[in-house]
Symmetry: C3
């Protein structure tokens, strides 16, 4: 389910972008129990001056996830840890330079296709 | 009111973008009782590899709305249905390829102009 | 803390973008009691037809902040007012053309670096 909004620096290779998307997606599935095909991700590519992350000027990633309420603190902690593990391994973003935030909503707040609220049918 | 964040594929015509924006806006107004001029929309244009929507590779749209809590399930369902009806008619996005999510906040969480919290005055 | 998502028109100078980012950041710190280095901002640059703000066609800015619940109405009001004061002074955006919305989450919903939930340790 989660709709994952990811912001990265402009000018990265397709391989870099794929590694970011894959690393986050596999963390979502592994740590929070989502189905294997539950992949909904948007990557925004912005200029360096448009990605203000304290004083960092090296490679960096900021993301926020929209998902239903109900995941435990432990699941979220495992997710944060796994995202950072994955992205530092590939494409090699420093663990210091990955910000993650979560925003929650409810069953009725999702339509994945065909204009139907799939969780409230 | 809603602030509508819409992500589409890069390279679309102005007419396509206008149809997306208009189709969502008229669904908002028709199904959730917002005023006629209540239009606040951001369209993000991203590369195909930056719009991961399960395995879809044809045209696709993902959006999330920020709006105040208080809309009923029936209003939200009508909204989802109308968005898909509108966007499949014009510009012709498949109903299978439209994702919608809603995030809610409160009266105090809005300033539409002049730095005033218009709902809490 | 807040993760600030800012949408502006494409084609602005680096100075304009810096003024926007700085003006919002100093308002965050001054009015809501965040630490001095608490700067997390994403600027999205979009075409004019992708920034629909009622009927406005002059320069305009729309933003939403993700932050923890707990800030008072008065703090939020002061924040809105200060953002508009700052951005109208520099880079000179009309107070009529600045939209702000806030979305709230909780302690567990943040990891600022290293995959750790810094507020829940």
């Amino acid at each position: 389910m989660p709709l994952v909004n990811i912001s990265i620096l402009k000018g990265k290779s397709p391989e870099y972008k794929k590694a970011i998307a894959n690393g986050i997606n596999s963390a979502v599935i592994e740590t929070m129990g989502f189905p294997d095909d539950d992949r909904y991700q948007i990557i925004n590519e912005v200029e360096p001056e448009c990605l203000e992350y304290q004083q960092r000027d090296s490679d960096r990633v900021m993301m926020f996830l929209i998902m239903r309420t109900g995941h435990s603190n432990n699941e979220k902690k495992a997710f944060y840890s796994k995202v950072v593990e994955n992205l530092s391994a590939d494409p090699g973003v420093s663990p210091e330079n990955i910000l993650i935030s979560i925003v929650e909503n409810h069953d009725i707040d999702w339509s994945f296709r065909r204009g139907v609220a799939q969780f409230v049918v």
